[in-house]
């Protein structure tokens, strides 16, 4: 197909999609409307189970099984990336040169690291109370470690980050979620049912299984992001040669 013909097909497809989208958007309830039947019921259910952050209640209680699916996608995507980016025959590693970092950046980076780490852990632990949870806090925790790469250099990051351990952490997070779900079965209810006592509204121990599932997801997400970045960094900075393989 020539380039012009291809652009023509693309333009036709885009215009048709735009027309369909426009037709659909005009039929949607107007932006900002008052009718949200699902939302209202979700809020009710979440308050009945003493979970202040209704978004967490939807993710880890009402739709916990859906989140198990999401987590499995995350786990498989990380697994695939690790397999694709492994060191292959014919490639060798070269230790990158130590980098010199301006002292001000080094000071700021090293001061920000524990604060960021603590913020991430706080966000995971308070997922049932305030905006946050395992998904967001996990990303924050993982990025905290990489401040070492910015503030010192790659070798310092390598020293505090045994990738094998984080790969285990990723798997353990996924396994913990599956097993917590099975806890519902043991208690005589459905898989992933919220069987723990709901606790006092607005305290750290409220929401039944929500904080536990949050912690499992936090472990999985933070380990997953560390593992992903480790493999990309290794490919970009360390692994040399062996462009083509058998």
């Amino acid at each position: 197909m020539s380039r012009r013909l291809r652009l023509g097909v693309l333009a036709a497809g885009l215009l048709a999609t735009a027309a369909l989208l426009a037709a659909a958007f005009l039929e949607l309830p107007a932006f900002g409307g008052a009718r949200h039947p699902y939302g209202d019921r979700a809020v009710e259910a979440s308050l009945a189970r003493h979970t202040a952050n209704t978004v967490s209640a939807v993710n880890f209680d009402q739709r916990a099984f859906d989140t198990l699916g999401e987590e499995t996608i995350l786990f498989s995507a990380v697994l695939g990336t690790v397999v694709l980016l492994r060191q292959t025959r014919g490639e060798h590693r070269e230790a990158p040169e130590p980098a010199s970092v301006p002292p001000a950046l080094r000071r700021y980076g090293l001061a920000a690291l524990p604060v960021t780490l603590l913020t991430g852990l706080y966000v995971i632990a308070h997922g049932q109370l305030s905006p946050g949870g395992g998904f967001q806090g996990g990303v924050v925790v993982a990025t905290a470690f990489h401040l070492l790469y910015v503030a010192v250099d790659y070798r310092a990051l390598e020293r505090v980050r045994p990738v094998g351990l984080y790969e285990i952490g990723d798997a353990a997070g996924e396994a913990a979620y599956v097993l917590l779900g099975a806890g519902g079965l043991l208690a005589g209810a459905a898989y992933l049912a919220n069987v723990l006592p709901y606790g006092t509204f607005g305290t750290l121990a409220s929401g039944g299984t929500v904080p536990l599932l949050n912690a499992a997801v936090g472990l999985e997400v933070s380990s997953a992001v560390v593992v992903l970045l480790a493999h990309f960094l290794r490919q970009a900075l360390e692994i040399e040669g062996g462009g083509e393989r058998e």
Partner: protein, 98 residues
């Protein structure tokens, strides 16, 4: 007032998304994507979704652009060694393909 904020932040997001698409150099695109991630985080917060904004802030403005930049660096490195290997002897040959 809320509507003004929502409109302004969404228009910024639309502009950043368009700029990200039309920046053909992936390294520059990564920077624009990080700007888009930041814009989306603000827009989500204005739309009363702090949970989503928080995860968008970490993922969109840091994680994705960083991975794209690292990929760009790796791809450039592979191309460089290939060019070097094509002339060198016994290096596996950069032109195995048909």
């Amino acid at each position: 007032m809320d509507d003004v904020l929502v409109t302004a932040s969404l228009l910024f997001v639309a502009a950043a998304a368009t700029a990200a698409v039309f920046n053909r150099d992936p390294a520059r695109q990564a920077v624009v994507l990080s700007l888009l991630g930041l814009g989306l985080a603000v827009a989500f917060t204005v739309l009363q979704a702090p949970d989503v904004g928080l995860s968008q802030l970490g993922v969109g403005s840091a994680l994705t652009p960083l991975m794209i930049l690292l990929t760009v660096r790796k791809v450039r490195k592979v191309r460089r060694t290939e060019k070097g290997a094509g002339s060198g002897p016994g290096s596996g040959g950069g032109k195995r393909r048909r």
